[in-house]
Amino acid sequence: MKSNKVVLEVKSLTKDYVDNTGYKIRLFEDLSFTIHENEFTVILAPYGSGKSTLLKILSGTETGFEGEIIKSDERISALIADTPTSLQWKSVKENIKFTAKDVSEREIQKAIDAVGLTGYEDFSPHPKSYGFRLRIELARALAKNPLIVLIDDALDNINDEKTRFELLLKLRELNKIYDKTTFLFATNNLTDGLFASDKLLLMSKHPGKIIERYEISFPEERDASLIDSEEFLELRNSILIKYKDANDKFLTVKV
């Protein structure tokens, strides 16, 4: 059930990035937005706009910024990076137990079942099985009962469209199963973002600002045919136009 409870509030976030040559880029300027409980939120922004940095800041693992990040409670903000970080020398279950030492077996099994890895508990991930590794990372995060799961373009490595949509639907399903956890997905892929979201935040590049907020009214239950619907294509085109206006120089978003 969607609620109006704000779980995360970002207030006037400003951050500069200095590269190796000393060149300074303003990544975010006065960036503000709120995330509501159990509302699947997508941040759509082009390549190199600082999505990863933003999620690191929200997860509490990156410092050196101005502004405020307010969380509704003390639970963790679990980060899933754009490159796989599950441990290849551990099985699925061992991977989850490694970070969830204080979590009951029941909760661990619930996470495994929820991500669709039932029967694969003793399998170890192959480095290039991106979908499998993403599921492990999702289970690893969910077993910790996080306030929010921050997903950083983790589907970017998956080229097979069918697998991508399966995973997007899985993310939405997980958002429903874990109703006290909220999913925030940052991507540069407009179709993926729009397909998965309840709310879509359009972010500009250098400086990063929220230029538009979209409340997505597609049905709760979705399938791949949605992307061919007139309603979807219309909304996608209007977002693209808005996006082009704001990011004239940096049109690197995937359609």
Partner: protein, 254 residues
């Protein structure tokens, strides 16, 4: 991960080389003072064992060289429990030493021979220092290539930096550390032989020096051939151990 291709290629080249050598020096070329015929080498086998004490010489040198990777590995990996930062630190001294370190090793070797004379313990300490420093420089440079996302994601799940270094980064580095220890193991043979040749009283280095003094080319060539076989077999064994320990496929380090 474990790659035997280098050993396979070497075996092929060595087999061809041996075949050509036998044909040339046994059947075509006349006896000479540069390289001995295979038959005279076989005749020298008895002398090698009875007069040159080959078993004790190769035993001592092999023991010293085999101890290096084991001790080097233990040194590196034990520090990660007590001081994860030290395990990874890339300090200025390592950078400064980097370019000139081989001269430093030769200088250190000469110093130790001069100071401690012909002591196998001194040789062991010398090999340990060289291998330890090489290992440290390598670890510090390789750790920069580890995907930083491991830190961010695991930290966000509540792990401390110490736990991540101890239980994840050290493990991620293990295949590359093994590769380096393998190279160090092969290089250590060179350093050990040089040390023993200069100190001149024990081990394979001294044996070869003695054979050179007596101009006993058959013994010299035979000991070199046996040493190559020992290095090859022990290197292969090392690879097998690596294969047993690292059964998982690591991420590619760019």
């Amino acid at each position: 991960m474990t790659d035997y291709s280098g050993y396979k290629s070497f075996a092929k080249i060595a087999a061809w080389f041996t075949f050509i050598y036998i044909i040339l020096f046994q059947f075509i070329l006349p006896p000479n003072q540069i390289l001995p015929s295979p038959a005279s080498m076989i005749d020298s086998l008895g002398t090698l064992f009875s007069e040159y004490y080959f078993i004790s010489a190769i035993g001592l040198t092999s023991l010293l060289v085999v101890l290096i990777p084991i001790l080097g590995f233990l040194c590196c990996y034990v520090t990660r429990y007590y001081s994860p930062k030290l395990f990874l630190t890339y300090d200025l001294s390592a950078t400064l030493l980097f370019s000139f370190r081989f001269f430093s090793y030769v200088f250190l070797m000469l110093f130790m021979i001069y100071w401690f004379g012909s002591s196998w313990i001194a040789e062991l300490v010398f090999l340990m220092l060289v291998a330890g420093l090489e290992q440290k420089i390598f670890l510090a440079s390789e750790v920069r290539k580890i995907n930083k996302d491991y830190f961010y994601t695991l930290k966000s799940l509540g792990l401390t930096e110490k736990e991540i270094i101890r239980d994840v980064v050290s493990k991620l580095l293990k295949p590359y550390v093994f590769e380096k220890i393998h190279i160090l193991f092969l290089l250590s043979w060179g350093w050990a032989l040089l040390y023993e040749m200069i100190s001149g009283s024990y081990g394979m280095g001294a044996l070869m020096l003695q054979a050179l003094k007596y101009n006993d080319i058959s013994i010299l060539t035979l000991s070199i051939v046996i040493m190559i076989v020992v290095i090859y077999v022990s290197g292969l064994l090392f690879k097998l151990i690596e294969y047993k320990i690292i059964s998982w496929i690591p991420d590619e380090i760019k």
